[in-house]
Symmetry: C2
Subunit: 196 residues, 2 copies
C-alpha cells in the first residue's frame, strides 16, 4: 500500500477535478462526499487533500477555471471592430457552442454558487458580470448606431443570456436538431427580439 506504481500528480490532479466535476454535476455538491470522489479516482479520501485544501476549494477551482476560459475564449474569437449585428451573431453562436461543449461545468456554475464562501462567490459573480458586459456593450453599440431597437439594454442582456443558456436544459445529442441548426434558430429569434 502507500504510494502506487506509476502515480504522478500531473495525472491524479486532473483526474480528481474531472471526477469531482462529473459527480457534482450529476448529484449536486452537497450530496457528493469526498470518499465518493476518491473512489471514482481510485485513491483513498485522504489523498485528495494533497490536491485541494478542502471540498469547497475543489468546487471553486472548477468554477473559476471555467469562467476564466469562457471569457478568454470569447475574447479570442470575438470579431474585432465588427458591426453590432455581426458581433451579436458571433456572440449568440459562441455562447451556444461553448456552453454545449461544457455542459457539466456550466450546469455547476448555475446550480452550486450558493455552496461557495462569500468571497469566492463574489469572484465568480464578478466574472459572470464581466461576461455579461461583453454582450451588453454589443447591444449598446447597436442601439447607438440605430441598428437595434431595444427598450432596455440591461434587461435585454439578461433575457438573451437566459434564453441562450436555456438550450443546455433541453438539448440532447442525437436529437431532432443539430447544434448548428439550433444556433441558426436561436440567432433568428435573438435578431428579431432586438429589432434587427
Amino acid at each position: 500500500m502507500a504510494r502506487k506504481t506509476g502515480s504522478h500528480s500531473e495525472i491524479t490532479g486532473p483526474k480528481i477535478r474531472a471526477e469531482a466535476q462529473r459527480l457534482f454535476a450529476r448529484h449536486g455538491f452537497a450530496a457528493v462526499s469526498m470518499r465518493q470522489i476518491a473512489a471514482a479516482v481510485g485513491v483513498q479520501a485522504g489523498a485528495l487533500y494533497l490536491y485541494t485544501s478542502d471540498k469547497e476549494a475543489l468546487l471553486f477551482d472548477l468554477l473559476k477555471t471555467h469562467m476564466d476560459e469562457l471569457i478568454a475564449a470569447w475574447r479570442a474569437e470575438a470579431p474585432a471592430g465588427a458591426e453590432p449585428l455581426a458581433a451579436l451573431e458571433a456572440f449568440v453562436r459562441f455562447h451556444i457552442r461553448f456552453n454545449l461543449e461544457r455542459a457539466e461545468v456550466v450546469f455547476l456554475s448555475y446550480m452550486e454558487l450558493r455552496n461557495l464562501s462569500e468571497e469566492n462567490f463574489a469572484v465568480i459573480e464578478g466574472l459572470r458580470k464581466t461576461y455579461e458586459t461583453e454582450l451588453e456593450q454589443i447591444l449598446m453599440a447597436g442601439q447607438a448606431a440605430g441598428v437595434f431597437l431595444i427598450p432596455d439594454t440591461k434587461l435585454a442582456t439578461m433575457a438573451i443570456i437566459a434564453m441562450l443558456t436555456g438550450v443546455n436544459t433541453w438539448y440532447r445529442e442525437g436529437g431532432r436538431l443539430s447544434r448548428a441548426t439550433v444556433a441558426d434558430i436561436y440567432w433568428d429569434m435573438v435578431r428579431k427580439a432586438v429589432g434587427a
Copy 2:
C-alpha cells in the same frame, strides 16, 4: 414536555412546509437537515414524521403543489378563445408575475429536481411539460394564423420560458424597475422575437 400547549396539526403542518421551502431554497435540499427544519418550526426532529413520510416527500410535496397551482392559475386566467397575440401577451405577463410572487419554490423547482426519486421526478417533469404545452399551443395557433413567424415552435417555447424565468435570477424588489415595467419590456422582446 411532550405535546405543547396550543399545538394543532393545521398550524404545525403548514409551518413545516413553509420552513422547509425557505431553508431548501436558501441552502439547498441536501445541505438542510431535518433537525434544522424542526428547529425553525420549534419542534424536535421526530415530530416532522407525523407530517411527512421522509425528507424527499417533503420536497416532492412542495414541488407538486407548486406545479398544480401554476397550471391551475394559468388556466383560470388564460383568456378563453382569444387571439394568439393577446394570448401570448397574457402568458408572458402571467409567467413573470406568478414566478416573481413565488420565487422560493420556483427556484426549488429548477434546482432540486435531481433529489427526487425517478417516479416523483417523472411526475414533476410531466406537469412542467403540460405547462410548456400551454405556451406551445399559443405559438402554433399564431403560426397557423399567420400572426407569428417562428422558425420552430418547440424551440421558441423553450426559449421564451427560459427568458421569462430568467427574470427571477436578477429581479430584486425595490430595484430600478417595477414588476409591471419589467413585464412590459419582456413582452416587447417576446413579441418581436415571434415576428409579431
